[in-house]
Assembly symmetry: D4
Homo-oligomer: 205 residues x 8
């Protein structure tokens, strides 16, 4: 579904010259661009050349959308805590960029599981769920046990000590006994949002 | 889609008494059962009680299917080598048990990448692809780069030395730059097959 | 509270001669003995010398109780799955040996969280909870979020692939955001049961 | 025992806006607040809104106590070295916030074990001991061997080289053969202080 | 082949005094020098003493070439992405310094494998291939499967999360099933470029 | 150079039926076969079908050579100890199979470095050196410092404790400061022997 | 001091033919031999050829002592538990073989630290102390804090769960804050006993 | 030998107030002080109070020596490269502080092993050798194979990529097959210098 619609750029580590050139070229071809892991400095430099570029500092997405993609279906993006929002927003905005409707259900981690239960209704309406959590990372497995749609779990680097920069959450998610759960790299909101859209667009609406 | 159709049992580590009792109970309620990681010994004991049970020694699936689920859509299950078949068959048979048509594309690892290219046509017909590979585990990322459907990658414990029982393949898959790839636990063919079916059944056929 | 009541022996790796001699000596001094991680072979040899010794093959506890300790208070021992029972029973029997009443709440893992909720009433009556779980190990954190008594979490070596012999469950437990949770070594049911009793006996009944 | 008394906030990583809002809301509801891992900058911003907030730069605790909790029983907080104080104070102040009397026994690590022995009398009066240590982390096990009350061990990130940010101390504590020892995450003074209070409050005074 | 031609200096961590002295001494003996991992600051200080020194900020090579080595044969240096260039340039310039012709084939990673195929012709002309890649690191194995010359793979520290600073790419390369692949340390472009030249110079032209 | 000469089979984990079929097919096409990591049982079964198959229990190579490849150049295969021979022989026989002359220099580890020096003359005659070592694995780096030909280092799983099944030797080799050293997977004698031949055959004789 | 006295053989992994030949040759040259990590089977085969060989199944030492070395000074060998004896005896017998008097102080681990204190007098008479311990491994640091002679610590593979085959004990020892402590490989009693003798023999008696 | 002579302070992480107070107190009691891992800032503050304090920025030692200890015997301190000097100087100055003569033999790593051989004469005169090396860390084992005095190996954090902050060098040293080698923590020059002096002072001069 992607061809003809938009291109993805991994901004982190790219030089200003290189990045500016990429955005200018896509802009001239009327191609929408979703740039991930962009810094504010990169944004400011690209803006000098492509003035319709927009930047969201939380998700670090640097995007150009000449014409918005029509939205379909529904993806739910859930987080364990508020510190996970930077990853969740990367997922949510990626899904929206590629044409999914998104419902955000934030701060419903398992330490206070009643908050999760009060939102289950909403979550169950989605065709695919993205579960974002750091530290213990149990949200993914708990959600997969409660819904019968595919869950894409994203471990985040939030935590300290034995969270090991997201490894603890990653292992929790990989070892879940609940059915219908797959995992992407630590902090990879983009990957989860993209795949959620691939799944969402398969739907019979 | 699962309720009313079948139950899943994780046989590994369950005592004969416990397992036999589970199968008997489900059998009496006319419930289909998919048992994973079953040993031949477990099979022989369960068979004494539930004689329509069938066992596949490669995938180690111990199943009772009173009435076959009607099959829909298409899932592709691909492997890097022939040593990965035990995991691939677990995925394929799980997907079939829950109602997916499955195409098997085995031994198409990236060390001889032309074999993969000759099968691309077939793979692209599927709504969801399961990519099973051990050792370097590059198949998942290469496939995700070549198709635009969601790919579920399963690292296997096949290999030696620094394959670290599947960890090397797992890391490769988590770090893929290709879009539309998510990962399950090492050797978890069941998890991949189940989620592939969840996705496949969302489809507009 | 232990002195004057019973001695603990770590049987694993002790030679038959050495172990038999230990049991004989304690027996002659009328001391109760709790042996952990004993093999059936050790049991059979010790029995030749101390005939009132009893052996539980599930928990691998080899004990001599000349006079039962009077039981007080309540400890709850919960497990995620049935494969964790060998550890849970080590905890439960240790707690009983040292004088705690124990309620067993098994197979209430988070993949099917409704089973856990239906047992919460019982669990909340205890002064201290032991939470035993392998694989993703989320039970400890979920329980600590639901009760306001101290929870001692025991990761088990149950699982495969990235469960890494219990390391995944251990990390989940160490990283829980729920309050009132501490962790012991992988499979260390003894340590959890002992500490639970230390806590239980502090109580105002 | 917590409801009706105070709320806990994990300040690390929270934005100033978000944090300020949380503190204002709790203040308006007359709720005591214990904030952990707060930075001085966070303190200065919150203070602008809730002027009775206090900040301890060593423990990084940012608290509002409208009415002090009445203190009961006794918790001992011990450290191996002076570099561990930032964690020990987090534990001690958490325990005090929730209503425990606390005795501090600092710098009694096992490299100079006579200092520990000279303080044993004091430590044994407590209902629960918190043992805070980095590097080799042997303090937890040595203490548990010397007292018969529950010991909660907190590994710290103090050290260099193979201390691996607290992993060495954590492993030492998890592997102790002494009875009555459980462990929390690296640098998690809050968790230990909270659980120590849960245990302390169970006591018959 | 090296003696009589040039010396190698590992600049990282050397003090200005020490480094300046080394370059002055070699300069006075008319020895060519290849310095690796040099900072701009080191360059500026050395330049004050040896004015013909040149510095490439991308590869961080600080070199003195009084007389250029005659170039022979061909080495191909390939990368997966543009973020790997700093390592690739270290390899390429090292190979050139010691007398190899070099063809650069950049940004041909396996996520878009058609770009690699369009360059195969060029790559196959080389006597030895250097494959530089971070994240999943699959380029090395894919190349080794497509050419029959020795491939030296260099994992890079490019990536995030489970790339673990290059460990994921390293493991992928070590576990490749393709024949004719060996690996050097993470980011060690120098080592790969040097060995490629050793191999290239063995050739019958 | 391989095409038209011989095929490689990774025997480990292949079923008897599958393996026998592979050997029969190659035999009928007059193709030489080099099978690695074959068990004695596999040998005995294959022999029933292809009677000219030969098996070397030390290297576990199961080969069919209808017509010997003509040998050229020279490869040196060196080991640190005698326990490393199983890997060294895999390397040496692979190199011979594909047409290299091989000189074996065994048991010259760095703990008794004089033995190595007495053999340097011989080693320096080779076009490429394979250095096989377990435990500390220093042989690779020491050799690379003493010769100016490419060295392919093979860590072995020989050792105990912190040798971690070859990881210690692997790290030593990857971190060597000596020039002209690259590394293959733990115990991968095949990979080293194959690449050594690729290099050896590039030579001007 | 070793030359002219005895040779050391690492028996593990050596074939019967190879080992027998080594012992025969040394025997014919009247050289004493200390073989480590020998199996009973190796002993029985060597005995057929060199009948004065002796074997200790606990330490697995297979030795030939034609003429006993005169003993000097004193080395203390201490253990944490009785399960560590197999390593301690390897250390003690190695020290004796090379001419040290040895005092054994076993089962004085820190979980019951009074046992250690009652033996301090004896330990302090030694010129060098070997401290052998598994699981938490705190014995080394505690001893080094109590004596002013060099302590060589040997972690053992005794334990379960997070003892990780001796890694936990190793880290504890490497991170000790006590002065005068160095460490050898896991289970390496030989290395510790040898170095203790090197140190002991430096003494002024 | 230490009592009555000097005290050791671990400066890293100590607050200025705390550190200044320690130095003032020792100064008033005429006690020599060896402070390790001190920053320049700590030096400047302590100097305001104890003006005879001296600071060496390379080793980061902050010492007060009212009266120099008489020097005896000989310790050799060797390094693999010049980047290891900061650790070597910590070892050398510690040994001197406590009364050892020290010979420094720097930059004799195994990549250019002839430099080491040209210094062997000198090294063999010492009673104890300290071997300091980063990256591959082979120096310790090579030295232990060449001398018959005890060698204390210190891994350093020098290196990049898979040097893992000194872990690679540490493993190399722990796995050495050479006799008479023990290891201290990464970068722990102090520990090695202290133990070398303990050994040196045992000598018959
Ligand atoms: N399963 C266990 N895990 C950990 N520690 C144990 C276990 N069983 C017993 N212990 C401890 O080991 C001590 C006995 O060790 P031992 O003297 O070797 O029998 C007891 O006092 C307990 O503290
Ligand atoms: N330092 C800490 N370490 C671990 N968990 C904490 C810490 N401080 C607070 N928490 C937990 O985090 C919860 C609050 O998280 P939040 O809602 O993000 O402020 C509290 O209820 C505590 O259970
Ligand atoms: N980037 C690099 N990575 C690994 N080794 C290097 C590098 N650059 C130089 N070397 C090696 O380090 C040696 C020089 O080290 P030094 O004498 O400290 O300058 C050279 O002979 C090379 O073998
Ligand atoms: N011992 C080995 N280690 C690594 N790769 C091998 C080994 N033996 C064979 N291979 C590779 O595996 C391929 C054959 O795999 P298969 O088709 O499964 O027999 C060969 O082409 C080699 O590239
Ligand atoms: Mg589900
Ligand atoms: Mg795709
Ligand atoms: Mg709670
Ligand atoms: Mg105790
Ligand atoms: Mg090839
Ligand atoms: Mg060389
Ligand atoms: Mg001491
Ligand atoms: Mg020696």
């Amino acid at each position: 579904f992607r061809s003809g619609f938009g291109e993805v750029v991994f901004c982190q580590g790219k030089s200003i010259e290189h990045l500016t050139e990429i955005y200018r070229r896509f802009y001239m071809h009327d191609t929408n661009v979703l740039g991930t892991r962009a810094s504010r400095e990169q944004y400011e430099e690209v803006k000098k050349v492509v003035d319709c570029v927009t930047y969201d500092p939380l998700s670090r997405i640097l995007s150009v959308e000449k014409e918005k993609q029509e939205k379909k279906g529904l993806v739910a993006v859930c987080t364990g805590g508020t510190a996970d929002l930077f990853v969740a927003e990367e997922a949510a905005r990626t899904a929206e960029f590629f044409g999914s409707n998104v419902v955000r259900v934030y701060d419903v981690g398992v330490a206070g599981i009643h908050r999760l239960f009060s939102k289950l209704e909403d979550i169950r309406k989605a065709n695919c769920i993205v579960a974002v959590a750091g530290m213990e990372g149990a949200l993914g497995g708990v959600l997969a046990g409660l819904v019968d749609k595919p869950v894409i779990a994203v471990p985040t680097s939030v935590g300290y000590g034995t969270s090991f920069g997201g490894v603890s959450a990653l292992l929790t998610m990989l070892n879940s006994c609940a059915e219908g759960l797959a995992v992407v790299n630590i902090d990879n909101g983009f990957g989860a949002g993209y795949m959620a859209t691939q799944i969402n667009r398969l739907c019979k609406d």
